[in-house]
Symmetry: C2
Subunit: 203 residues, 2 copies
């Protein structure tokens, strides 16, 4: 359990300092690759030992940052008003969820990139991915006529993968709003064909 809250003042202060410094560094630097742990420690005015004790390892630091950023979105999804909150009818909530995911990645490109691409284990084991996927899956399941909710949830979320978003936004210069509408259209298509009677794929 390397993630428990420390008790001493300096420990808490340092933890905050590290978080802030890392945040700043990741947004400033081009690629997450050239933000080194030593950099973070130095920039936070702290020794490497402190850094690693507080967060376990690089992935731990990334996770902590990510969770912090994700927190408002999580709350909006779990208990907020429509179209993100649980009151929303499934057909409207699915696109809203994916839009939220996309916007989040757009707003936290470097960070998401660093976390998803953190070499080691796949992003699919990350606990926050499991949350997104589980929720999306559950909502999809409530849409009549839709099968394979599990796979569909994965496939839809894949369209918001950090490196894809980064590629589109960074390399291909696709503007934010255009991307959102494209994703929305895509989601619409996936949802549209399921339940409509008479809509069959001509063989």
């Amino acid at each position: 359990m390397p993630e428990r809250q420390p008790s001493r003042r300096d420990a808490i202060r340092n933890r905050e300092a590290v978080l802030a410094a890392a945040d700043a560094l990741f947004t400033r630097r081009q690629s997450p690759e050239d933000v080194t742990m030593a950099d973070v420690a130095a920039s936070a005015g702290v020794g490497k030992g402190t850094l690693f004790r507080a967060f376990g390892d690089r992935a731990g630091l990334l996770r902590a940052l990510y969770e912090a950023r994700l927190e408002p979105v999580r709350r909006a999804v779990e208990s907020g008003p429509p179209p993100l909150g649980p009151e929303t009818p499934p057909r409207d909530r699915v696109p809203a969820l994916l839009d939220a995911a996309l916007c989040f990645k757009l707003d936290n490109r470097r960070l998401a990139l660093a976390l998803e691409g953190s070499g080691g284990s796949s992003p699919y084991r990350a606990e926050h991915y499991e949350r997104w996927h589980g929720l999306l899956r559950a909502v999809l399941e409530q849409i009549p006529g839709l099968t394979d909710s599990d796979f569909t949830a994965h496939a839809l979320l894949a369209a918001t993968r950090a490196d894809l978003v980064e590629h589109l936004a960074g390399e291909e210069r696709v503007p934010r709003e255009r991307m959102r509408s494209q994703l929305a259209h895509f989601v619409t298509r996936v949802l549209a064909s399921g339940p409509l009677p008479g809509v069959t794929v001509e063989e």
Copy 2:
């Protein structure tokens, strides 16, 4: 140009040996992470210098392996018979292409994983991705009523990402055929709703 064909016998022989050794190692070992360049060199009975001169760097080796494996698929797509070849009507070719991509990833899980997740640059800059995407995009464009071919191509390909495939096949034990049919259904849904008149998104 670190990739040109060498002239001397021993050079050629060594290149083959390295390729074979790497191939074996990547399929044998659990994670691509714990196949080290030194491992490959040792297993091929060759010095590290030789390895690096032949392939430039780790990514180069991965690329060479990948391209070699991909070659038959590429030919089938570019000049083979339906449903992969260019004669196929777009509506049938799209699912065929994606199925081929999926099968390829299934058959070359470790390798694809190693290449996509090779830390450094995003998989979207890789030349083979550009090929898949460009082709898929072009085929999608021929389907009447489909817009955003560019994004759609990205989104569909994202559903065959190596780490997702690995997760589904490895972690969740989804059998091959089930996965193929799920992907096929997904693709069908995306393609189905486009051209049908009267299918509009209620705003």
